[in-house]
Amino acid sequence: MAEIILDNVSKRFPGGTLALRNASFTIREGEFFIVVGPSGCGKSTVLNMIAGLDTVTEGEIRVDGKVVNDVDPKDRNMAMVFQSYAIYPHMTVRENIAFPLKLAKLSKDEITRRVEQAAATLELTELLERKPRALSGGQRQRVAMGRAIVREPVAFLLDEPLSNLDAKLRVQMRTEIARIQNRLGTTMVYVTHDQTEAMTLGDRVAVLCQGEVQQIGTPRELYEQPRNLFVAGFIGSPAMNFVPAEFNGDRIMLPMAELEPPETLRDCLSTRPRQLIAGIRPEQLHDAATGGIDRRYGPTFRATVDVTEWLGADLYVHFQVKDGRTPMVARVATGSSAAEGKELELWLDARRLHLFDSETGENIGVVRG
């Protein structure tokens, strides 16, 4: 178990790409830490630098207080799971899992004992003598996990470990990884582009965009207090709706309605008129007809429904706001009578409205000053 600290770390590739800029964060001992961001934002680079597979251009990486910038990957005692699984095709499952132990020169008995234990944990016992080419994708993924857990490393590094699996298996393995991490209590750094994985797995999540850390926090913090437009739009599914908003010193004008600033945001707005972007999560929009609405907390408005998506427990209603060309999504109760092409009255629950500065993109309710 280890505490991993990135102190002002930057990475510039020989070609000149700045893959990571001044990243600073602390991964606490035993924490399940997630790095999430769109493809190409530098997630793998972060992981590879922690692993020692990539050099650090600037800054320091410390593991348990010791600077590891120049420590060889083999001496960091970290285990990594690759997106491609990277299991050795010429070795059986047993040999694959035993490989790190053999390199560590453990005794034969100890190797056998540990391999079988890891195999049992991952339900690989039956497959130990097979070659990787005779395994399914999910089984290969387990072998890669097995090779990681067998050696009791100080940290697990996982680079999009589930993105090659089909949806059902992904959910299953997700739970399994969470279980393993819980049981072993080992620090885990998990890289993914999938915000659902990030939200469901992470103790804390770092959101990365174009090599810059946007925000670090618990999934709840990221969801409820996104620092900027990027985080707000990236976290949550369906994504947050963004509409232009104008504050005239007193009231906020949205394309579909106007409203008083919610109480929580009043201090942040002063009386100076300004251009803003309003962020509305789909679950803040309710079908006015299904009841439970309270006009004290937000206005109602009418919109024409484009498309509805029924998912059993939820009903997503896609619509356009009247005078804009902004498509929006509402998550309404399944009892709603919303129908494609029909008008619908919606209530905006403004208590959790987010307002972003239209120039800097910062959430004025979170980033003060």
Partner: protein, 278 residues
Amino acid sequence: MNAEGSSNERVLWGFGSVAVVVYALIPVVWILSLSLKPSADLNDNRFFPRAVSFDHYRTIFQDIQFPAALWNSVGIATLSSLLAVTLGMFAAYAIVRLRFPGRRLVLGAALSIAIFPPIAIIGPLFDLWRAVGLFDTWAGLVLPYMTFTLPLAIWSLSAFFREIPWDLEKAARMDGATPFQAFSRVIAPLAAPGVFTTSILVFIFAWNDFLFAASLTSTNNARTVPAAIAFFTGSSRFELPTGSIAAASVVVTVPIIMLVLVFQRRIVAGLTAGAVKG
């Protein structure tokens, strides 16, 4: 109609294949037949021997020249392929995996060596080897063989290395391997089919070479079989050593055939299947 067409096609293909095989095998069978004919029958104008005799084989192995040449051939060809493949493996690996300035240059230079006509350097090499004492030694032949086959080794091995996912090497490093262990325990075994193929090609080049062998050797010290055969003499000055030459030719072909048969199974493609999700 359709079935008929396809069976016609099959006959055509079958006929073509047989024709090619027969065309390729006739000289070989002819040599084999000659080597088995008793001396008196050598000029009997028959394709198959009337009587089979192993006299010629006995003759060539009784002479000290031929066994020595065979030993030289085996030793020199093996050494050349070992050296060329080992060096080629490191070079190819570096070219594929490391980004260093002049990668293209190395490949280009290797290619230009490969197309360099050996006949153009044989004269100077003869003088040079005599001056430095490499003339008529194993090293004197191993060196040019290695030089001329290295480009081939580098090219074909780098094609094989390129197929191996880089993640495997990173995984090995994370599992606690030194760079050399990662190479020897993971990359090299996966490149094995490439290594075998390349070794065989280099071996055959060295085994078959006549030009260097005839020019750079003079005695049994280093003379290889192709050169030795050219120096065969008949039992009297009126007799051509046709039978002995035929027998020697058959003998030198055998190791090559065995080599290919033995390693054919190792040269299986798709060994990397299952490394990464395809």
